[in-house]
């Protein structure tokens, strides 16, 4: 049995963080980070939230203390992650960030300094991940499907229907039809074929969505398999093109709320709107604020991934990172988990076991 001890939030620290969260979040480091700084790459889903937490952390730990930096998933490329590191293609997505962490590249100016100290990840640990890394959950997100407002989309799709749509195989619905699924086969009125679009292949949101709907092989009708569509953005040209009225696209609910409710990346959602899955809305209103529906089935954790300083049986967070990410047991929370205001301000739900391996 896997046991986990739930951590009580440190109210005082959380309140203190509220006061400094007002500072404008930075995207990327303003200059090349020093070798002593703590640097990460990876997920698009958590990039803006980590930008804010980096800003908050650095305000509370001014120079010359080590600074916390988070390279966004998208931007100019290549990048130099730290002083003395070689120029590298900017890692875009959870998978790319984890791969960059696992590369264990070091600075030429300080052979003890890794070029990357952590990876942002919106996917959880997988059986194929090595034991040399550990996943530290810090917030709750959800993923649902989205569609253009005013299009042919229905209000709700089941995960079985989504699997048929992304398999381009209507026969999975048992209706006697074959080929791409049409709206009238899933409760709509239009006879137009649904056009499934998928984010780029390093996206943790893509991995979670496909796993959740039970899809193991994308059909040929799925667009975006050329890795030209960034996750959690509805302003790609494909969303306003000829297929606009029939597109379905997975979307992080937290990022959507950040864009539409919290003015973080406002407008990036384009005209895409979130839809229900398996009969449940991905959002709910709690105290006048629209938040992720904690009863939604496609909820997930989002993580920061660090090197394992312990063993496979007893993983541990490197001591130099514990002030940021906690000690992995919940005894030491770390700055990320103490900065709950940033987590909720970017649309995520707080996770009671924040930072616990």
């Amino acid at each position: 049995m896997r046991n986990s001890k739930r951590m009580l939030f440190v109210a005082g620290a959380a309140l203190a963080a509220i006061g400094i969260s007002a500072a404008q979040a930075m995207a990327d480091a303003p200059t090349t980070p020093r070798t002593v700084d703590i640097v990460g790459t990876g997920s698009d889903t958590t990039q803006f939230e980590l930008d804010q937490q980096s800003t908050d952390y650095n305000a509370a730990h001014p120079l010359p203390a080590p600074q916390l930096y988070s390279w966004d998933a998208v931007g100019s490329s290549p990048i130099i992650e730290k002083d003395g590191c070689t120029s590298r293609p900017r890692p875009n997505g959870s998978g790319a960030g984890i791969t960059e962490l696992e590369a264990n590249l070091k600075s030429t100016t300080d052979s003890s300094a890794f070029c990357v100290d952590y990876a942002r990840s919106s996917r959880g640990p997988q059986a194929t991940d090595p034991t040399s890394i550990v996943f530290l959950p810090f917030a709750i997100d959800a993923v649902t499907w989205s569609a253009n407002s005013g299009g042919n989309a229905v209000a709700n799709l089941s995960t079985d229907q989504l699997n048929a749509i992304y398999s381009c195989d209507a026969s999975l619905l048992g209706t006697g039809h074959t080929g791409p699924v049409t709206w009238n086969e899933v409760g709509g009125t239009s006879t137009a074929a649904i056009v499934p679009v998928i984010p780029q292949s390093n996206s943790g949101t893509r991995a979670f969505f496909l796993q959740s709907i039970g899809n193991t092989a994308l059909g040929t009708c799925v667009k975006g398999q050329d890795n030209t569509v960034e996750e959690n953005e509805g302003d790609n040209a494909i969303f306003s093109g000829a297929d606009a009225a029939n597109i379905v696209f997975p979307y992080s609910v937290a990022v959507y709320l950040a864009q539409t409710e919290h003015n973080h990346g406002a407008g990036d959602q384009g005209t895409m709107v979130l839809k229900s899955a398996d009969g449940a809305s991905p959002t709910t209103v709690d105290g006048g604020t629209t938040v992720i529906n904690s009863d939604f089935d496609l909820v997930r954790l989002v993580y920061n991934v660090v090197r394992n300083a312990g063993t496979a049986a007893a993983p541990a967070v490197p001591s130099y990172l514990q002030g940021v990410f906690g000690d992995g047991t919940g005894a030491v929370a770390g700055a990320i988990c103490n900065d709950q205001s940033a987590i909720t301000d970017f649309g995520f739900l707080p996770f009671a076991n924040c930072g616990v391996i």
Binding site: M1, R2, N3, S4, K5, R6, I140, G279, A280, S294, D295, F296, D297, V299, R300, L301, L349, F351, A352, N353
Partner: protein, 200 residues
């Protein structure tokens, strides 16, 4: 508490439970949209808590198909509610469990009582809610706090909490409905354990 007092309280609670079980109808079905599940949620109420309730002229009793028992090892009255459906996930600590049965709370000093149905354990919010008779809105009765453990073994999910406390809204509601000032926020109400499997 002496053993004789404990035994007396236990016997009293058991007797009330038997009467209440007869009086109360079977709990209603869970919300249709939630996946079917089986399992049990148990709140263990220490005899000291039961004695304090009895001293104030109060008693709480689960109604069928929920049941009352006695844990001699821990000297606690156990109130067990069958899990009928839910969305609770231990991996994310989200969702809820729909529970069958009712909860009757009686004030013997003035004859007032309140019956709660639609009992729900909200794993995300760490709360037990229920709908009082004559109302359509749930009341947050208890918070599950303290040391909490979540786990899975095969298809069985478990969640435990070392303490259960009366929630502020629950205390206010109970005091008003029962004509007492006994209930206060943060009051000890026992400990919590649960296990469930999805069957749908």
């Amino acid at each position: 508490m002496s053993r004789s007092v404990a035994a007396r309280v236990s016997a009293t609670v058991a007797a009330i439970g038997a009467v209440a079980a007869t009086l109360l109808a079977t709990g209603g079905p869970a919300a249709a949209a939630d996946p079917a599940a089986t399992g049990t949620v148990t709140v263990s109420v220490p005899l000291s808590v039961e004695a304090a309730l009895a001293k104030a002229g109060l008693a709480e009793v689960p109604g069928s198909p929920a049941s009352v028992g006695y844990d001699n090892t821990n000297r606690a009255v156990t109130e067990s509610f069958p899990v009928t459906a839910g969305t609770a996930k231990v991996s994310t600590l989200t969702g809820h469990l729909d529970l069958a049965g009712k909860l009757l709370i009686v004030n013997f000093t003035n004859g007032k009582c309140v019956t709660f149905t639609s009992v729900v354990f909200d794993l995300f919010r760490d709360q037990i809610t229920a709908v009082p008779n004559g109302s359509a809105s749930p009341v947050v009765l208890f918070d599950t706090i303290g040391t909490r453990h979540a786990g899975t073994a095969g298809t069985t999910n478990t969640f435990t909490a070392s303490a259960v406390q009366v929630h502020a809204a629950g205390a206010s509601y109970l005091d008003a409905a029962l004509g007492t000032s006994y209930f206060v926020a943060g009051q000890n109400a026992g400990s919590f354990s649960s296990s469930w499997q999805f069957t749908g």
